[in-house]
């Protein structure tokens, strides 16, 4: 078993109602990673949206303006509205962020279909910018498996 597999296994055996700090940390780094991806930000240049993204139990409120995440703050925030929510289990994020994700764990809709993620709310902006959201939420993939647990 490789070191990264061992780390993954440890993450997956955590109690289901807790979120591994590594997942939280990885999410918190997404805005900075997006700043380094000008092509991706350009793809979202028409997108302004407040949404809820992240681990099922500890998601983040994300404020996106012209394709840039201008604010990412852990929920709950008193009376903060969101347009749509995409939340997945910590195990799902850990799998999704592997360099070569396994079958069934490799796509946002693969995760919803297998019941590891939930998509809710007004989906218009999510669907109109679907590849943008898929790619933004995959940004930790290049760093996650290599990061210390």
């Amino acid at each position: 078993m490789s070191a990264s597999q061992e780390v993954l296994l440890n993450r997956m055996t955590s109690p289901p109602n807790t979120t591994d700090p590594a997942i939280i940390q990885a999410f918190a780094k997404i805005p900075a990673l997006l700043e380094q991806a000008p092509g991706l930000m350009a793809r979202g240049r028409f997108l302004d949206c407040d949404c809820l993204l992240g681990p099922s139990e500890q998601p983040f409120h994300a404020a996106i303006r012209a394709g840039k995440i201008v604010d990412l703050i852990p929920a709950p925030v008193l009376m903060r509205s969101w347009r749509f929510a995409y939340r997945a289990t910590p195990a799902a994020w850990a799998e999704y962020w592997q360099p070569m994700p396994r079958p069934g764990w490799h796509d946002l809709f693969a995760l919803t279909k297998r019941g590891e993620a939930v998509l809710e709310g007004d989906l218009h902006l999510f669907m109109a910018n679907l590849q943008y959201f898929k790619d933004v939420l995959a940004l930790p993939r290049q760093h996650f498996a290599a990061a210390p647990a």
Binding site: M100, P101, H106, D107, L108, F109, L123, A128, L130
Partner: protein, 299 residues
Amino acid sequence: MSADTGMAGHIEPMVGRYVHVEIGGEPHRIYFEENGSGIPLVCLHTAGADGRQWRHLLADEEFAKNFRIIAFDMPWHGKSNPPERWTGEEYQLTTARYAETIRAFCKALQLDKPVVMGCSIGGRIVLNLAIDHAAEFRALIGLEAADFQAPWYDTAWLNRPDVHGGEVGAALVSGLIASQSPKTARDETLWAYKQGGPGVFKGDLYFYRVDGDLRGRVATIDTKVCPLYLLTGEYDFSCTPEDTKRTAASIGGASVTIMEQLGHFPMSENPRQFRRYIAPVLGEILKTSTLSRKQGVHA
């Protein structure tokens, strides 16, 4: 292997032409590409795409020695325009229409007991052909095929004025491609989706989601009349390996292969990997066909 981007001046071996086909009592101008000689092998593209998905198979020198490889664009797809009488009403592919189109195309080209290989909706209709018209075919190959698969998104998103149908369609199906598939092949596969006509992908899925449920019907397939091969990629969460295995479990003699490191578009998302799996199938069909001819049996 197929020739890919190579030396300047290289011309690929497939040739494209139009054949006039009557479907539903109306004339259609169907675009097809072909290469090779021997057993006719008709290839069916996925929903919302076109025959370009088969370009690597079409250019395969080894397969072309024994197979006349043919890929056509369904009406409304690729270079096959909608019929002239079409006035813009909603396009919806039905089981009857799909089966008729394939049979009419084969008849128009006077193909002698062709092999039909289809992917996704093409894989589903292959099951219909096996149920209702098995004697017309030498063998049937269903890629990403099952009698039914659970829906994973609302197809209404595919055709509405406030969402770009090409962008959302490509983004949706991008998830069905295996993680290992090369970026260039992935991008090329998605390009066809970005180019599709408005409402065509959605209309194809009418057959897939609404009209083409074959649960309870596939048990009547007789693989002694026509061999049936089912191959599904492990990354396909739309038609899952479990969907294909469940389907095959009720069909005596059906061959099932789960393809590693492939998703919903094996022939276009990773042609080299797909070749590893399809070569033995075509080899078996060739062997059976040759044996039957030697024995004087029309296979």
